[in-house]
Assembly symmetry: C2
Homo-oligomer: 212 residues x 2
Amino acid sequence: MGTAPGPVMPVAPGRATIPGTRRPRDAERTRAQLLAVATGRFARNGYATTTVRDIADDAGVNVALISRYFTSKEGLFEACLAEAVTEVRRDSDDTPLDRIAAALAHKIAGPDREDRLPERFLLLLRSSGDQHAEDMRLGVLRTISERMASAAAGHDDGSALLRAQIVLSAALGIILMRGSLGLQPLAGATEQDLAAPLADLVNALCAKDRTS
Amino acid sequence: MGTAPGPVMPVAPGRATIPGTRRPRDAERTRAQLLAVATGRFARNGYATTTVRDIADDAGVNVALISRYFTSKEGLFEACLAEAVTEVRRDSDDTPLDRIAAALAHKIAGPDREDRLPERFLLLLRSSGDQHAEDMRLGVLRTISERMASAAAGHDDGSALLRAQIVLSAALGIILMRGSLGLQPLAGATEQDLAAPLADLVNALCAKDRTS
DNA sequence: CGCATAAGTCAGCGGGTGTTTACTAGTAGT
DNA sequence: ACTACTAGTAAACACCCGCTGACTTATGCG
């Protein structure tokens, strides 16, 4: 469905490498490339839609290498998810409340991100049906929301965690809208554009002193 | 043709129909049932994951009826989406600003919803890859956010629409978290639990008079 | 060099998917 | 009661997917 260039395909399959030059034998490198390509495709198009042939072609390697390095498509997905989880976890270490909004804006729309963090957040919303993967993404979402709740620390009633999860939902919803839907003007908003609204949002939901 | 005289009657492969009784001949009814089941499955598990046989079995009818009534799986998806779009559009008619939050809370977590609105919102986030469907969901999201922006009508700078879209993103993010992820305590929050936080959220993002 | 081993390729297999075609069986009109 | 028509069924087809086992080629080491 998605990719047009399916048929025809002469004997040399869709290799990204130049036909004359051979792919250098670097297992580590191709493994990493497979992971990167797969993360992008899984995050953007979902698990079931993405085929292993798409990934392999995009990475310029043979399909069999996926099974070799990650045992299966699900294994590859779990590897992507694991990487995303560690990356996301590290990035959400200990942010004080008054900087959460700015940090969110930066993560969502920061210019020229090399860590591809929005992609990784998006991946947390994708499901492969596998239980282990399910546990991982639920775990990291729980961790993040708990950290945010403790950073906020307002609301002596039990609603702090709930409110933090709402903020998290908002952030992920925004990423989804930008990355998968392309709803303008949200999709084209810069980090500066998002800073003020997000500050209002975080403040209203997590600040100690509220009106209502 | 002396082929296998006994139809044997494999007694209702699905489960919706009682083995003994035959499905009554009601095209309208089965069509509606297919649509309802498909909407639920598409919204919950996504387009690619859901198989037409799952849908048919769940509705208690034969698979071929999907092609008959909706020409194809994509046609069925578009029909579900169209229904969801009209339902969502009607439900977001003209809500004054001060009631948006309550309305959202009711739509997200209202008790015993017969219109299955959360499901329909969730469907708006699912993609089949078809361009026509893509246009539909983008259109309805645009409409809703514009209505919300005009209801708010604050922010003489051009950020009203952006802020409305952030509110919408938050709502959809929450629905996604509840319906697809099951993140507690958000997933189990009642309408009352959500009312106050959502009021804060809407107020902070859309109210005319803000501090910062 | 010669060879063992790892990196990468190729072609094909089961299995599941969406769709179609031929068929059965209720139902309404005359 | 006969017939035309439509709702519903069953089985198969063609295709694409994930995966595998045998093969080829480059690199490291004596």
